[in-house]
Subunit: 150 residues, 2 copies
């Protein structure tokens, strides 16, 4: 990041000097219609602040990991799965995702879902559910409908 | 923070289960018309995310410190001093405040200025300018006008 410019201007959910990246490497995990921008990453900061944007109908990967997520919805609305619960989320709501908690974000059919995510700079990689773990989650009909995108 | 509720709802720039606090202890430093809410603080997170809101005509303390600030303007507009430069800031702009850089935020006369600030959980205390340091800053007429609130 360019240390010479203290201000990076916002325009239409993009920021100056900030690249719009693929969410993850294609084929590495299931996801759909989601991008990633790293807003702050610096050797002097012990966390990173990222902005993820899910297009209408898109979703992040269903995953869990040791590290915590601290999320603020910056744009639009949608639903998230946190542990065993599906919750509606709207602009500026806060979401705490504790360690080893299954989570996934989905945009609604008619609005994008953009969110800030603060994480420790040093963190573990995410785990995907095994078939057994996915079936356990799907035993709740509300969770099953969410995971299907129904 | 209540670990049982993964979602804290937003309403009018306040959040559920999140106290609106004084910016600093009264009399500890110069500031005007500013509040503080800690959105995320957790032993498992190495940074905190705070929301500061400056009312029209208000300002944060002019200060500097070892630790960095990573700022996203969440509401309204205003001006900030970062080092020797006065810059207009608007909603969703990003501001990077490097270590030991003088900084102050001011809301405009007609709008609040609300901003997210990410900082390391372990950090040093802020220093206020000495008379000599303030005079050096004021040697630039634009900075002098900003500091006066003109």
């Amino acid at each position: 990041m360019d240390k010479k410019s203290p201000i990076r201007r916002f325009k239409s959910f993009r920021w100056e000097e900030t690249e719009v990246l693929a969410y993850k490497e294609e084929g590495s995990a299931p996801f759909k219609a989601i991008t990633r921008q790293t807003l702050f990453r610096d050797p002097d900061l012990k966390c990173e602040l990222r902005y993820f944007e899910v297009s209408p109908g898109g979703y992040s990967t269903l995953e869990r990991h040791e590290h915590m997520h601290a999320v603020l919805i910056l744009r639009g609305r949608g639903e998230c799965l946190v542990g065993g619960q599906v919750r509606a989320v709207d602009t500026n709501d806060l979401v705490t995702i504790e360690h080893w908690t299954w989570h996934q974000f989905r945009a609604g059919p008619d609005a994008p879902l953009g969110f800030l995510c603060m994480v420790n700079a040093e963190r573990d990689k995410a785990s995907l559910p095994t078939d057994v773990e996915r079936k356990a989650l799907e035993s709740d009909p509300k969770v099953a409908a969410f995971l299907k995108g129904a």
